[in-house]
């Protein structure tokens, strides 16, 4: 029998640019798995629904997938906010929900059925900042982040903590809001504070504009970014403005590992476009689930199968586009049994010639 898997991503609305890439990643992975004969002979079918990046819509989509389509598990949703609303629904229905792009703190507090392979900023940023500080001999940095978005704000919170821990003084902290395209006021202020580097918790599209406008204003300092920077788009747009940027991330299109190169090539072939980290993580996520599914015998009783998957998934490991992957149990605030976070080692990249290059300290 086919294995029905639900995909709930934002395919329209403001978060569509991420949701669409994610959904592409899933479809590519499903195709590859099915082309190789499926899982223990069972083909994967994806039920893809648009959750529009809205919380009520996510709940509705989750309920439809769980109770009406009776999917085995759900991937998604795109935004952390939506996961906070829809995650409890899946958890209460004892159905695995697997987020690939939800990085906010507390997501896996929702319950034991909640999984994610999105690497948390708190795993990435300390290393990134430390490496950059050493490389550039940084004395002081400026910070800019998007303050109305859960993703960039929680990234900032981590940055702030890391900078405090590493005793790196901050000259000024600037914010912008989603949809802003003009960052010159903030950048002019940053320029006036004369930092050695600019720490940036932003999504790639905004980051590219920030870099361009920074150079336009005569800021020479290099950038340090988190997860959000990780898209080939960054350099398509910012060209050489991003030279010298440090990025910590589990994935890069230039990572030479064969699994990754195969993914990048397959993606380009299918979609005539460069993949990004969102697509890569989605691609890997489906492969992780496939690995777990291999080990269980599906009974056809949806309740039992869902439970079996929930028990098998934590043990699944793969080596995918984002490198070796395994889960680790989440530490929850309340002490209740929580879900599962990614346990993955990030790579540090330095941008050279408009490309991510794996950084190795001399």
């Amino acid at each position: 029998a086919d294995i029905k898997i639900g995909i709930a991503e934002a395919l329209t609305g403001g978060a569509a640019q991420y949701g669409v890439a994610i959904s592409n990643g899933f479809q590519l992975a499903a195709e590859e798995i099915n082309a190789k004969g499926g899982i223990n002979g069972n083909k994967i079918t994806l039920v893809i629904e648009d959750e529009q990046g809205k919380k009520e819509e996510s709940i509705n989509v989750f309920k439809k997938l769980i109770f009406q389509d009776k999917v085995l598990m759900i991937f998604g949703p795109t935004l952390s906010n939506s996961m906070f609303a829809a995650g409890p629904v899946a958890n209460a229905a004892k159905t695995v929900v697997f987020g690939t792009s939800v990085t906010a703190n507390g997501i896996t507090d929702v319950g034991p059925y909640v999984f994610r392979n999105s690497v948390m900023e708190s795993d990435v940023l300390p290393v990134t900042v430390a490496t950059a500080t050493k490389h550039y001999q940084l004395k002081k940095v400026a910070v800019i982040y998007g303050n109305d978005d859960a993703f960039t704000k929680s990234g900032y919170d981590v940055f702030k903590k890391v900078l405090e821990e590493q005793k790196l003084p901050v000259t000024t902290t600037e914010t912008y809001v989603k949809g802003d395209v003009d960052f010159k006021a903030q950048l002019t202020k940053i320029k006036g504070s004369n930092p050695d580097a600019v720490v940036c918790s932003c999504l790639a599209e905004e980051a590219a504009n920030i870099m361009l406008q920074a150079r336009g204003l005569g800021i020479k300092a290099p950038f340090i970014g988190g997860n959000g920077f990780n898209s080939p788009k960054l350099f398509e747009i910012s060209k050489l403005a991003g030279e010298g940027t440090f990025v910590g991330s589990p994935w890069s299109n230039t990572n030479p590992a064969p699994a990754n190169q195969a993914f990048v090539a397959a993606y380009q072939k299918k979609y005539k476009a460069e993949p990004n980290q969102f697509a890569a993580q989605a691609y890997d996520a489906l492969n992780v689930a496939a690995a777990a599914l291999k080990d269980i015998k599906l009974s056809g009783d949806i309740v039992a199968d869902r439970e079996a998957l929930k028990n098998a998934l934590p043990k699944a490991t793969i080596s995918g586009a984002t490198g070796p992957f395994k889960f680790r149990p989440a530490k929850t605030r309340s002490g209740q049994p929580g879900g599962w976070d990614a346990d993955q080692k990030p790579f540090i990249y330095l941008v050279k010639g408009g490309k991510f290059t794996l950084y190795s300290s001399k």
């Binding site: 890439a21 949809g179 010159k184 006021a185 002019t188 202020k189 361009l212 336009g216």
Partner: protein
């Protein structure tokens, strides 16, 4: 840094003003808050982009083309939707809701055609030119935006205040019935206004798309939001108001980001707007006729 910030404020303010010009024109003449103006602005950007990338059109031609395309959309919206609504005496919020629908359609059509991700003009099409005066970095494109905003404002303002056409437009704005009786082709002028306003929105889209270089199906939303603030701050349908309101908002935003806190940029801008409205209940240039009975 102050000089740089003042320049930043001037350009941002001009961007708002440029967007608001067409918006306020429709508002002033048709008395419709056209919530599809943001989407038309977005269409302008994509149209120019498509002309440049697919047809290798030079920039000036692309801008003209974008004006034509967005203007046509404005015209179609007026002919196909607003005109029947006028004929049916729709209550005043109804046309606004229709334009919300149009906005949704345009946005999803753009996403269908161009995808959800951010697109850019190819670098070689961007007008180069950047100079440094003292400590201030200026780009040619920014100067162009400022200049165009001011020029368009001046042209439109003179047109409306001093010409027979302008008087006719104001007559329509107040009472279409009275205008018909004066021999004014009211429907015709509604169409023209819709076309011109949308074309202006289209130009704004191209210029701002070029300047900030981030074209997405959603790009019209945030600026629409600001645009509403601008035209109401300036005074309903007032052309000067669009410019002054735009500059005001630009300065409020930039200065509060620069000297207070960037978190507070919008809060300060909207807070000030709130206060200004309390003092001037009809906006900066709006006036209320005092006569009551």
């Amino acid at each position: 840094m102050l000089e740089q910030q003042l320049l930043n404020a001037l350009t941002l303010g001009s961007v708002y003003a440029l967007f608001a010009l067409g918006f306020t024109l429709v508002f002033g003449v048709l008395a419709v808050i056209n919530l599809s103006h943001g989407a038309v602005f977005m269409v302008g950007s994509y149209a120019a982009l498509a002309l440049v990338t697919h047809f290798d059109a030079p920039l000036w031609l692309a801008i003209l083309g974008a004006m034509l395309i967005s203007g046509t959309i404005g015209l179609l919206v007026d002919v196909l939707i607003l005109k029947p609504l006028r004929a049916r005496n729709a209550p005043h919020l109804i046309p606004m809701i229709a334009t919300i629908g149009v906005g949704i359609m345009l946005t999803s059509a753009a996403q269908g055609m161009f995808g959800a991700e951010v697109l850019r003009f190819p670098e070689e099409t961007l007008p180069a030119g950047e100079f440094i005066v003292g400590n201030v970095h200026v780009r040619a494109l920014e100067l162009a935006i400022v200049a165009i905003a001011f020029i368009l404002m001046a042209v439109l303002f003179t047109l409306i205040k001093r010409t027979q056409l302008g008087r006719a437009l104001r007559a329509i704005a107040e009472s279409p019935k009275a205008a018909w009786l004066l021999g004014i082709n009211v429907e015709g002028l509604f169409h023209v206004t819709s076309f011109v306003a949308a074309a202006l929105g289209g130009v704004a889209g191209v210029l701002i798309g070029l300047d900030f270089n981030a074209i997405t199906p959603q790009m019209g939303q945030p600026i629409l939001h600001k645009g509403i603030a601008v035209i109401i701050l300036g005074g309903m349908g007032d052309i000067r108001g669009a410019l002054i309101g735009g500059l005001f908002l630009g300065f409020a935003e930039v200065i509060s980001k620069a000297y207070l806190s960037s978190q507070m940029g919008d809060a300060v801008a909207f807070g000030l707007l709130f206060l200004i409205l309390l003092v001037r209940p009809s906006g900066l240039f709006g006036r209320k006729l005092e006569r009551k009975a």
